[in-house]
């Protein structure tokens, strides 16, 4: 298992790359890299956690996106056929360019989906939840419970459906669902209450141990609240400055504001007494994966400046391809190389 942060870096890099290009060659290459990674890290004995494979996703999304764009977009020189202009909304020429552009959007969505699939396979939901900042620890636990709650609710639903079936209940109209939802709702509330009791008895969200640290904590909270408000103001005014073309000062303010908020969260988190049970070591494999992802994104952004934009309009052209940029994208493959084999 790789450290979840390494996967996060990988995911962010992947998202940046995918969302900054519409060049089909790069998109396809990135998609191939993601799919290879997904294949490499999937546990053979565990059933696929993803409800939908990226391949199947592509099958639906790419034609759909192409069709919709072709029907709605009127730009492009290569007219394939024309729908009578009198037809509302879709009337007009259908162009090859619009079709391709739509398909490219579908491809982009598929690549994004594949990147998330990889993360889903690589990091259990609970590990993801652990990376919610400690200041939001209660939120994290609520999220964790939601993960548990869903399957239990499904099981309960099944139980109630059976219970209603044995008293002659048949599902014909919408109103027939009522007997299922009432027990589900009350049962769910009862369970939620019981869980809350159990968590309190396990010392969850415990208030401060003593009055002394309590006061110190309150002061700390006050301070970090001020800092985060300032940070937020910084980001807002930075955003305004950027809008007025004061890009440098704007960006500087945004970055400072973000840092201030992060610091405030960190401070608040420190005052929440909490330790974690699972140790996630950071080793050479984590360095390799993060390094690979960073090389890919940096290479793509700097080397690929000229080639990464592709626009099929007004007439279809063959997309440009830069070998170095393409090679940089292979950095996303590193997890496939380092994970597996000696997986502990």
């Amino acid at each position: 298992m790789l450290h979840a942060v390494a996967w996060f870096v990988w995911l962010v890099a992947a998202l940046i790359v995918v969302s900054t290009t519409r060049n089909p060659l790069y998109l396809t290459l990135a998609l191939a890299a993601f799919l290879t990674t997904a294949r490499a890290i999937r546990q053979p004995n565990e059933p696929s956690a993803a409800p939908l494979a990226p391949g199947r996703f592509a099958l639906y999304v790419i034609p759909l996106a192409a069709l919709i764009n072709a029907l709605l977009s009127r730009v492009g020189e290569t007219v394939l056929l024309a729908i009578p202009a009198a037809w509302p909304l879709i009337g007009g020429p259908i162009t090859a360019e619009a079709l391709v552009y739509g398909a490219l959007n579908g491809l982009l969505l598929t690549a994004l989906f594949a990147a998330f699939t990889v993360l889903n396979l690589a990091v259990p939901v609970r590990d993801l939840i652990r990376f919610i900042p400690r200041a939001f620890y209660p939120v994290a636990v609520v999220a964790s419970i939601a993960v548990t709650f869903a399957p239990t609710t499904l099981r309960q639903m099944q139980q109630i459906r059976e219970a209603q079936a044995i008293r002659g209940h048949r599902m014909r109209r919408l109103r027939d669902w009522l007997p299922l939802f009432m027990p589900l709702l009350t049962g769910g509330l009862e369970r939620a209450l019981q869980l809350a009791e159990a968590m309190a008895s396990h010392g969850f969200a415990s208030e401060t141990a003593t009055a002394h640290t309590g006061r110190a904590q309150a002061a700390c909270h006050e301070r970090s609240r001020m800092v985060s408000i300032l940070g937020l103001l910084g980001i807002l005014s930075g955003g305004l400055l950027t809008a007025w073309r004061q890009t440098f000062w704007g960006m500087a303010l945004i970055v400072t504001g973000g840092a201030a908020i992060w610091g405030a969260l960190w401070l608040t988190g420190r005052s929440v007494p909490h330790t974690t049970y699972r140790r996630a070591p950071w080793g050479y494999r984590e360095w390799l994966v993060t390094g690979g992802a960073l090389v890919a994104v940096a290479g793509f952004l700097f080397l690929g400046q000229a080639t990464r934009t592709y626009n099929p309009y007004p007439a279809l052209t063959w997309p440009a391809f830069d070998t170095f940029t393409g090679t940089a994208l292979l950095g996303f493959l590193l997890p496939a190389l380092v994970v597996g084999g000696h997986d502990d």
Partner: protein
């Protein structure tokens, strides 16, 4: 260790206090049992120990609770978490994490225990409950007994001095319950942990207990003290103590060994016992209502039923025993068509149900699932019965039994207009029975009907089942409760891994396996007796010639 001084507690919006003027004290290292009928306030009392009452429940609490020198009302449940470990009735409802060791470490994470110590403590807690081999397992893959032990281990991880458990064995089969109790006794003796346990099934627990707290239903004062001082004042007791009381054995025996001591002085081996005339029920073998023929059910690759044959006749009660996961519920579900067998067939009144709708089958064969709450949703008790009739398209005028009459027979006539979910566990179950029986099916299948029932509710259920049997109803009872089987069953079947491995008359089957032996059978191994009534009858016949 635990002191209650004149504690009175009233839930918000309640007219009567749940605890009235309770004064008691539990010494350090005690194994204390909290007993009383449903609604007597057992859970409330336990929740006072760690401040869940009044912090979670609201309401007003007067008097003073002291636990290990702390005031739970001031500390709150979080503050008490290092002093009192709390285990709830349903282990699943209290899990936050998905793996065994993570669940145990959860409390330690909240307490900011340094990682090294956290590992040590987790390992320790796993070991104490015998869970070490399961530490990496997902919670959902564990059995009920294992889950309950995980719940205890996670309560122990914070090293509390008191462990409070709210009906921890109510969902377990007898073997798992016995294992759980063994674990608790070990914790009590080796760690000196003070254990406070609320429980309905006293049979197995009384031998280990050194303190009893009895919460009466009426306004009588709460009794607390050593079992021998308290138990004589408790109206409903397990068979052993009931028998001892009718025979005036004093002091009241808590264990079979103590009871045998009385027998060796009271009853000599020469005493000529007479076996009670078992009312051998002549079942008409031509009136099979439900018949399973070579039934096989598979869940994916695993076989849940492997060739089960069963015939249920009018006017008999069959009890089906077996460990959790033996396939008992699967059998019941396939008998009403909720599960379709991969091989074999089910006949209801001679017709195969393979092509019948579940609703149509259930008009002839009633089925009460384990959790009656899943059935109830109407605004009033009476409505629940009417809804079933409407589901089946039967106008109330044509109902085989008038809903009001059925409610009367269920002892719910005065609750007809109440909201079903406000009733006690036993009453809710009887409402569910009403919702099923209003179509007057010829057979009734019950899954664990005594779960969570106190002795009185159990007695009421038993009476009801016997009355229905007398009217010709065929009853199949799946249960872990051997005392109920001893009282009710005409035939007993034992299931193991999807097969019926033993069947016959109750005296033979129940006495063959040690875990299924009722207390009276254990006490009189030479006799054919199963219930207090059997023993009293036998003993009275025996003592007549000698006196």
């Amino acid at each position: 260790m635990i002191d209650f001084a004149r504690v009175t507690y009233t839930y918000p919006d309640a007219t009567r206090p749940a605890l009235r003027d309770v004064t008691l004290s539990i010494p350090d290292g005690a194994f204390a049992l909290v007993m009383g009928s449903s609604g007597a306030g057992k859970s409330t009392l336990l929740r006072c120990l760690n401040g869940l009452v009044p912090h979670f429940s609201g309401g007003t609490l007067t008097g003073r609770v002291t636990v290990d020198g702390l005031d739970p009302v001031a500390e709150g449940p979080q503050g008490m978490s290092r002093t009192v470990g709390f285990v709830f009735q349903d282990p699943e409802a209290q899990f936050v994490m998905d793996r065994v060791e993570d669940e145990i470490a959860f409390a330690l994470e909240n307490a900011a225990i340094p990682p090294e110590e956290m590992r040590a403590r987790t390992t320790d807690a796993l070991e104490q409950l015998g869970l070490t081999p399961l530490r990496q397992r997902k919670l959902e893959t564990l059995s009920g007994g294992e889950k309950q032990r995980v719940a205890i281990a996670s309560a122990l991880a914070l090293r509390p001095r008191i462990l409070a458990l709210d009906e921890p064995t109510s969902q377990l089969d007898p073997q798992s319950a016995a294992e759980l109790l063994d674990a608790l006794v070990r914790l009590n003796t080796t760690l000196g942990l003070t254990i406070v346990l609320a429980e309905h099934r006293l049979e197995r627990i009384l031998p280990f207990v050194d303190q009893v707290i009895y919460l009466p239903d009426d306004d009588a004062p709460v009794l607390a003290g050593p079992p021998r001082d308290v138990l004589p004042h408790v109206p409903l007791l397990p068979p052993l103590q009931t028998l001892a009381r009718t025979l005036n054995w004093s002091p009241l025996p808590l264990t079979l060994e103590e009871a045998r001591h009385f027998m060796s002085t009271d009853l000599t081996d020469e005493t000529d016992f007479l076996n009670p005339l078992k009312s051998v029920r002549s079942v008409d073998k031509n009136t099979a209502i439900v018949e399973a023929r070579n039934l096989e059910v598979t869940y994916g690759p695993t076989a849940a039923l492997r060739g089960v044959n069963l015939t249920l006749y009018h006017g008999e009660i069959i009890a089906l025993l077996g460990r959790n996961g033996a396939g008992k519920t699967t059998l019941l579900k396939s008998l009403v068509g909720l599960l379709r067998p991969s091989r074999g067939d089910v006949l209801v009144e001679g017709r195969s149900i393979a092509r019948m709708d579940v609703a149509d089958v259930c008009q002839r064969v009633g089925y009460l699932p384990q959790d009656p709450n899943a059935l109830l949703f109407a605004d009033t008790v009476l409505d629940e019965l009417h809804i079933t009739l409407r589901n089946h398209g039967i106008p109330p005028a044509d109902a085989p039994i008038a809903p009001e009459t059925l409610l009367e027979c269920l002892g719910l006539a005065d609750k007809a207009q109440q909201y079903p979910r406000d009733l006690s566990v036993g009453e809710r179950q009887r409402v569910a029975l009403g919702a099923i029986m209003v179509t007057q099916p010829g057979a009734l299948l019950l899954d664990e009907p005594t779960r969570g029932l106190d002795y009185r509710a159990k007695a009421q259920l038993l009476e009801l089942l016997r009355a229905w049997r007398a009217e010709g109803l065929a009853i199949l009872l799946v249960t872990h409760d051997v005392e109920l089987v001893a009282e009710a069953a005409d035939r007993v079947m034992v299931m193991e891994q999807g097969e019926i491995v033993a069947q016959g008359n109750p005296a033979d089957v129940l006495r063959a396996a040690p875990t299924f032996m009722p207390q009276i059978a254990r006490l009189f191994p030479e006799q054919d007796w199963l219930t207090v009534a059997d023993a009293r009858y036998g003993l009275s016949c025996a003592s007549t010639p000698s006196s």
